[in-house]
């Protein structure tokens, strides 16, 4: 049994610290999970959106990708720079998503969560809508792109998850240190604010 005494007026109440904090702990944990899932899903969905943009870019520029070696230097650099920009954005989104997803799991599972739960539904839904809106001509374009430069497109698409995996493995230690720092800081602040309570 604890008795909490107000340091100013001396008013005393019965106090069960764990019981009294239970609703706050539940609220704080729910809020933490909500924020974490928000970041995880948003990052994954952004990665899915950009992955779709990369696919659309590849289909649109299929003739240039097929003849990449014979393109002018400026045109080639421009094309690769645009791809790199999209790929880097998707990789960062997926890596952030993977770090936020399921911190108690291995990084491989977290990456799978990021790509399967966050990115894949968005990419599939937008791709289906686009193919339907474009009709048969869009489907023919996709088939033509796969015939012209399917290998290169597959390589370009596979590079994004690979880059996200490398980024996630590189950023995970930094994220864990930041988390520990934030938890330590919060604990110190909490101890500072509850220092007036004494056990009777």
């Amino acid at each position: 049994m604890w008795i909490a005494k107000c340091p100013r007026c001396g008013f005393a109440v019965r106090w069960n610290p764990r019981g009294a904090r239970a609703p706050l702990r539940l609220w704080a944990r729910t809020r933490t999970l909500n924020v974490r899932f928000g970041i995880a899903l948003s990052g994954g969905q952004a990665a899915g959106l950009i992955a779709f943009a990369i696919g659309a870019l590849a289909v649109d520029r299929r003739h240039e990708i097929a003849e990449l070696e014979s393109l002018g230097q400026i045109r080639r650099a421009e094309l690769l720079a645009i791809y790199a920009m999209f790929a880097a954005s998707a990789a960062v989104g997926a890596a952030v998503s993977a770090i936020a997803f399921a911190p108690h799991r291995s990084m491989a599972v977290r990456l799978l969560c990021a790509w399967l739960l966050g990115a894949a539904p968005v990419t599939i839904a937008i791709s289906l809508f686009s193919l339907l809106a474009g009709g048969r001509s869009s489907l023919d374009e996709v088939v033509e792109a796969l015939q012209l430069c399917g290998g290169r497109i597959a390589l370009a698409c596979a590079a994004v998850p690979l880059a996200s995996a490398l980024l996630a493995y590189a950023l995970a230690p930094l994220q864990s240190r930041l988390t520990r720092f934030a938890a330590r800081h919060f604990r110190r602040m909490q101890n500072f604010h509850t220092a007036g309570f004494q056990q009777a």
Binding site: R29, T30, L33, F37, A40, F101, A102, P103, H104, R105, V109, C113, L117, P121, I124, A125, L128, F129, L131, L132, G135, R136, L139
Partner: protein, 293 residues
């Protein structure tokens, strides 16, 4: 000398308690200290009556929240019921819409494919004849259709790539959109057995399929004509609609059956063990314990 005692009412004879401590009237905030504690004959509740406004205040609680709690229960229950009805209607509407859309789109593509096959079978002189054209709404060539080549083309056009592409795409899109609704219903019915979950979830899809098949069969009778589109509708429409209906019914039923397991698997994957108590109902509703690994 009389020995009779004066008759007094029993309440007046027994000493009565008075309220001690700080308590205010809920009506006028007048202090109730010193007021006589009385017992309500109907409910047995102890109460004191305010000396200023005469309002009775219960001693054990101020029961002001109870009506609001009852109203909140009604609001929550009606919200859940309305949500369930909307989800069921949405699932039926999505399924029916995509069934009809996929079937008619596939028929149009098959009709175009059929007419193009007919056109490619003509020689150059006949192709130049403006009386003979090919298209969805143009008239068919009955003699060619009755020939062996025509019958072969009719048989092949049903499962040709141009006809199957929109059919598969539209069914895939309908499946993708219906999946969250079927999962939601499956999870909401997690207390029921798998068979009952499947039946309840597939019911709106089956009803939608019945409506769509009925409408398509009537439409075939309404729009009569001698066009490639009519040929395609006569030969393929009901088959496409039946395939689409069967797929969507089977998919939604299967999704509802495994929905709680999928949700539990995802929760187990992404939630640490100590946080799984937040969604413990995912396991407890199915008579299982919350996994700790």
């Amino acid at each position: 000398m009389s020995t009779e005692q004066p008759t007094t009412p029993p309440n007046a004879a027994s000493p009565r308690e008075t309220l001690q401590g700080d308590r205010l009237c809920m009506q006028c905030l007048h202090p109730l200290v010193g007021r006589t504690i009385e017992r309500d004959a109907g409910t047995g509740l102890l109460y004191v009556r305010c000396g200023e406004c005469g309002t009775a205040s219960a001693l054990f609680e101020y029961p002001t929240a109870t009506p609001w709690l009852n109203r909140a229960k009604s609001v929550i229950a009606s919200t859940l019921a309305i949500t369930a009805i909307i989800v069921l209607l949405a699932l039926g509407g999505i399924s029916g819409g995509f069934m009809a859309g996929a079937s008619t789109e596939a028929c149009e593509s098959a009709a175009m494919d059929l007419s193009m096959t007919f056109r490619s079978s003509l020689d150059e002189q006949a192709k130049a004849d403006t009386q003979i054209q090919s298209g969805y709404w143009t008239a068919t060539h009955d003699a060619w259709l009755a020939s062996a080549a025509g019958q072969d083309a009719v048989a092949k056009a049903q499962f040709s790539l141009p006809a199957l592409s929109p059919f598969i795409l539209l069914n895939a899109l309908g499946t993708a959109i219906a999946a969250p609704f079927a999962l939601f219903i499956g999870i909401a019915l997690a207390r029921q057995g798998p068979l009952r979950r499947m039946v309840y979830t597939a019911l709106p899809v089956v009803l939608a399929a019945g409506v769509v098949l009925g409408m398509l069969s009537m439409r075939g009778n309404w729009i009569a004509g001698n066009s490639w589109g009519q040929v395609a509708r006569d030969h393929y429409l009901m088959a496409y609609a039946c395939i689409s209906s069967a797929w969507l019914v089977a998919f939604t039923a299967a999704t509802a059956a495994v929905g709680p397991s999928i949700a539990a698997f995802i929760a187990r994957t992404i939630l640490p063990p100590r946080d799984r108590r937040l969604v413990a109902w995912l396991w407890e509703w199915r008579g299982k314990t919350v996994p700790r690994d």
